[in-house]
Symmetry: C2
């Protein structure tokens, strides 16, 4: 039995205790929050090692910033755990039920997943966020974070495991894989005997690896090639504000847009207005021929690839389309099914767009940046699903549970 199989076995065992836990879960979460605060010096000391290693490895300042922990950030993690404790228990909700003519009483009830695997990258706060959500959802969790954060993650996981045990639940409710090799991630993706679901949180490379290697059920998250389509009946001022916000407020996140499609009848008037706003943030525009004809040589040629990728940067692809249908075609071809928006004052166009765009979140006249569990009122999120099975869009506690049927009879046979 490999180290990971043993970890899986222990997690499964812990999950069977956790499955029927109620108030103990909140007690454990509050203990975790308190322990994070009480041990913040030790966690920061471990984090300092990661930061030193990161600097030596030449990580960019933006990556180092994601990696860095401070008293304030640990306080934020603790508060996040407390907020999860305060949410309603997603387990044991009776979703539906009926009594059959033969007297059988059938109910469909939410139950924990069992053991959840999470693969994530260099943000150590994900360690406590994800563990808290899984614990509240009644599942044991096996975490596999990025190598850059390994010392921080080990410190945080150790603090959490101790707190969980002191609160009376098995410490194996939370486990961290300390081996950060690519192989350990692949092994986790194939831990079919113990893992009920795997949630990869990361970029396109991780998702591709999961699609190729996973043998356990997966919820894909996070890759967002998002669009704003500016219809011929758009309010130009609104279109400008939405494009500016969706592109520039935080370009590195998945709900930021990468491409603007614009109807030919409004392009000449709207594009210069939009560009003027984007210029404030020095957004590079890569456009089609017609875009260049309007905006001039400051626009680079957009390649096929420019429409297909997430820039996650101050870069925007622009294409002028002849019709709403052409916009829909473009989105069907290039969208990753995350968030897409139409700006229009036309009722029929809005309806056609919302019914025809096959994405997790489809917007009329609002920024795609709202695709977020907190913004949607779902509480803390574990990620944003871009697939169609089980959960789509922001996933909160209610998406972290499964269900089962309970059937009560008095001797019925078929």
């Amino acid at each position: 039995m490999t180290t990971l199989e043993l970890m899986g076995q222990n997690a499964k065992k812990a999950s069977r205790v956790l499955m029927n836990a109620g108030a103990e879960k909140d007690k454990a979460l509050l203990a975790i929050a308190a322990a994070l605060r009480a041990n913040s010096d030790a966690i920061i000391a471990a984090n300092d090692i990661d930061i030193e290693n990161g600097k030596a490895a030449g990580l960019t300042e933006s990556l180092l910033d994601r990696l860095r922990l401070s008293k304030e950030r640990i306080e934020g993690m603790a508060e996040g755990v407390e907020q999860v404790a305060a949410q309603n228990d997603p387990v044991g909700k009776i979703i539906e039920g009926r009594t059959l003519k033969n007297g059988l009483q059938i109910e469909k009830t939410t139950v924990p997943m069992g053991v959840i695997g999470i693969i994530f990258e260099a943000r150590p706060n994900v360690t406590s966020d994800a563990a808290a959500l899984c614990l509240k959802a009644g599942s044991a969790v096996i975490l596999r974070g990025g190598k850059e954060a390994i010392n921080s993650n080990k410190a945080i996981a150790s603090v959490m495991r101790d707190a969980i045990e002191q609160a009376g639940l098995p410490r194996d409710c939370v486990a961290l894989i300390e081996d950060t090799s690519r192989q350990s991630a692949t092994e986790l993706m194939q831990l079919t005997d113990y893992l009920d679901v795997l949630i990869p949180r990361g970029g396109a490379g991780l998702i591709r690896s999961v699609v190729s290697n996973a043998r356990v059920p997966v919820i894909e998250t996070g890759v967002g090639n998002c669009h704003v389509y500016v219809d011929k009946d758009a309010d130009i001022e609104m279109a400008k504000n939405i494009v500016f916000n969706a592109k520039t407020s935080r370009p590195s996140v998945c709900n930021a847009i990468e491409t603007v499609l614009i109807h030919k009848d409004i392009a000449e008037e709207a594009l210069p207005v939009i560009k003027a706003a984007l210029d404030e943030k020095n957004v590079e525009i890569r456009g089609c021929e017609r875009t260049k004809a309007i905006l001039g040589d400051c626009v680079k040629d957009a390649t096929e690839n420019d429409y297909a990728v997430e820039f996650l940067d101050f870069i925007l692809a622009v294409r002028i389309v002849d019709s709403l249908d052409d916009a829909l075609e473009h989105i069907a071809r290039y969208s990753t099914g995350h968030s897409d928006c139409i700006v229009t004052d036309n009722y029929a166009a809005a309806n056609t767009f919302t019914s025809s765009v096959d994405s997790a979140a489809v917007y009329v006249n609002a920024s795609t940046r709202f695709t977020d569990g907190g913004e949607f009122g779902l509480g803390a999120e574990i990620g944003i699903s871009t697939q169609k099975l089980h959960a789509r869009g922001p996933m909160g506690l209610n998406e972290l549970v499964s269900c089962k049927y309970i059937i009560r009879g008095n001797g019925q046979i078929r």
Copy 2:
């Protein structure tokens, strides 16, 4: 582009039309039903070839029976399609919604999956059943049936495609893979660009192959190593009836039981009663040492493997356990998470069992044979999910759809 990729592309294109279809779907379904009846002679002629080939290949009589079509069976298929047409449309149901403080109106709505792949074995009626459910759920379907039924399936698929086209929808809403090699199944499992979900319907071998090879999201179905636990507080007459029904009414199906666990305090009295009933059907019993001590040498030794497999036959494993906890341990270890039952008059034991057994359907005092979409009142079923993502237990139309968020604003930015 391979044949299958082209098929996938055409299915995706058809799915975009089907996505927004309403009454046209029912029109197409009724046309399919009429066409099945009208073409029953041609379908039977094609089926005759399969039957001849099957005889030549030495198929068992029970397999030949599953394969065989008749006027009556085709009438049954047509009626099945009509029943699907009569069900409520699962698409466009608003599941939840709210207005945020910033005025954004968010709704979560059911939408079609897109393209569904179904791999199934030698029962040609599945071709029309599965296609009808997918069509009603607004998704295009790519069917890949067993080689034994290929001529029947081709005839049925052709009739369906013509009927769909005459009803005004794209014929590619339903496609059949005519290549029945193992390779074509593997290729379907990896058709990531076009397939939104794959539902394998078949035995343990097919499921294993899917778990190893699939790169598209999968809903596992059907493998059922099901248990009845006869508690010390069981009504022995009821236990006998439930065990007899669950084992012998149709041993070849997934909701039949394979193992009886029985509490030591009741075994001596109950086992002979249960065995006497099973003897009527010549059920072979494979038991533990203590079972043999009670029932004598007619009982074969149960091996570890006997507790792990689906016999799908008139064979039953029996084990005497010391406690409810031991029964729960056994079930946690060997159950495939399909259907498990406790027979008891003890309130606490019933509750412990329902909350601790992690299976799709958990029964108190009723036969596991009720795990079925029709019996549960869900309408026709596409299969029984034994995994925890998306759907668990019998899957009807409501489990064949996904959802998306539609967000309507008036210029909101974040």
